[in-house]
């Protein structure tokens, strides 16, 4: 099945391993189909940036395979990079250049460069095109780096915490631009973040990375639909399906990742559910990180 599907995948990682400074990232497996937004979510030091650097060819894995658009490094490097817009975790490397300089410099290397879009986004983000990069604030630098990535008109955006240090207004524009980018065809976005609100708003899939390992690859809406909070006045003695946690109180708060079966079981025990509601992604992530193996089985996509 793997072999067949890799044809269509934009990103295909197999058994990817990279060790550094007493930390091992991987082995990682990931397959991403075109047309989707995948959020890579994980705490600091979980290996997100290293993963991104490997996908853009800036860092070599110790072992395993990386395929982007069906091409591999190093043979496919030029072809792959032409089709990627990358925002690294730290924007550096062109301090003395202005936004205007950077535009003409980058456009030279990317045949699909969209000058009109570049000009538009500079305006929308209120970036001073005549100011040297190193004289821009951190937030402005992020906006410019993002703009440079999108104006390449790529098929894949790799965004490593693009909204870091960006104010809420510009952040909103960025999220909107990500949606606009996706509307223009079968394009793909992989973005790292720990802002759950961004995940909620733009992601189709969520991959949780923790301690160098994926905790799972989830359909975001399914995740939100499968984890629910139920409030009851009577604690079920016979247990209920998908039980994740019970916080005793009046009423008692129950978290389940199998809400339908749980509701049925409560009904059978004649326990009334006073209220039910969603769980926010933060809490879902916390439960996943604490990790019971069956959670991954039932919620995860294989």
């Amino acid at each position: 099945m793997y072999e067949q599907r890799s044809e269509r995948n934009v990103i295909s990682l197999k058994n990817l391993v990279k060790s550094y400074e007493g930390f091992t990232l991987g082995p990682l497996d990931l397959e991403v189909e075109p047309g989707y937004v995948v959020a890579i979510v994980g705490p600091n030091g979980s290996g997100k940036s290293t993963l991104f650097r490997m996908m853009i060819g800036l860092s070599q894995p110790d072992s395993g395979e990386i395929e982007i658009f069906g091409d591999r490094y190093p043979e496919g490097e030029v072809e792959i990079k032409r089709r990627i817009g990358y925002v690294p975790d730290i924007s550096t490397g062109h301090d003395e250049m202005t936004a205007a300089d950077l535009g003409s410099f980058v456009s030279h290397w990317y045949p699909k460069w969209n000058e009109e879009l570049y000009a538009n986004l500079l305006r929308r983000f209120e970036i001073n095109a005549k100011k040297r990069f190193d004289k821009l604030s951190k937030g402005m630098q992020r906006r410019l780096t993002f703009t440079l990535a999108v104006a390449r008109n790529p098929d894949l955006l790799l965004l490593d915490e693009p909204t870091d240090s960006v104010d809420p207004f510009a952040r909103r524009i960025m999220l909107e631009e990500i949606s606009t980018f996706l509307e223009a065809g079968e394009r793909t976005v992989l973005f790292a973040t720990h802002v759950m609100d961004e995940v909620r708003r733009v992601a189709d899939y969520v991959a949780f990375l923790d301690g160098g390992h994926f905790l799972g690859f989830y359909e975001k809406d399914a995740l939100l639909e499968q984890w629910k909070t139920l409030w009851v006045y009577q604690v079920p003695e016979n247990g209920i399906p998908g039980l994740v946690s019970v916080e005793n109180g009046t009423p008692t708060r129950i978290v389940t990742n199998s809400p339908e079966a749980a509701m049925t079981a409560l009904e059978e025990q004649s326990i009334e559910v006073v209220r039910s509601g969603p769980l926010d992604l933060e809490e879902i992530l916390a439960h996943l990180m604490r990790g019971t193996p069956e959670d991954k089985e039932t919620v995860g996509r294989t």
């Binding site: 949606s179 189709d204 899939y205 975001k220 639909e225 509601g277 969603p278």
Partner: protein
């Protein structure tokens, strides 16, 4: 650049407190808009990505909703044209309009039976509800 410039804005709302899955909520609301004539045949709907953005849900959800409605004959998708509201025959329209009413009445009958009311009592109750309602409507006018 976007091919969806004139797509209709659809005031759909999804609630995470609702136990119904999101795609079902979208389906139900779109169906209501179509059956009530608020979205007439030929109306262009937002793209799956556009709708997903508006509702802060994933394209997997919006695509599933569109696909289901397409299978039921409410929507039609053409290559390069996007998704539009399909022409629904008068007969089918009547049937669809009737369906939720029948379901609601069935539920009411069931609730009445559970509470121990007879058929005649329920009929009388229903008539009273209708009277109240028409009196209420008149008062509002």
């Amino acid at each position: 650049m976007s091919a969806n410039g004139e797509a209709a804005r659809v005031p759909i709302r999804i609630s995470m407190d609702d136990p119904e899955p999101m795609y079902r909520q979208i389906e139900a609301q779109l169906k209501d808009f179509i059956l009530s004539g608020q979205l007439p045949a030929g109306t262009r709907l937002p793209s799956v990505r556009g709708l997903a953005k508006e509702l802060a849900c994933s394209v997997i959800t919006t695509r599933r909703a569109y696909q289901d409605l397409e299978n039921e004959g409410f929507l039609r998708t053409r290559q390069g044209m996007g998704t539009v509201v399909a022409e629904i025959g008068e007969e089918a329209m009547k049937l669809h309009r009737r369906e939720p009413v029948v379901i609601a009445l069935r539920e009411a009958a069931e609730a009445g039976r559970r509470a121990g009311y007879s058929g005649t009592e329920l009929q009388r109750m229903f008539e009273r509800v209708l009277e109240e309602r028409s009196a209420g409507v008149r008062a509002a006018e």
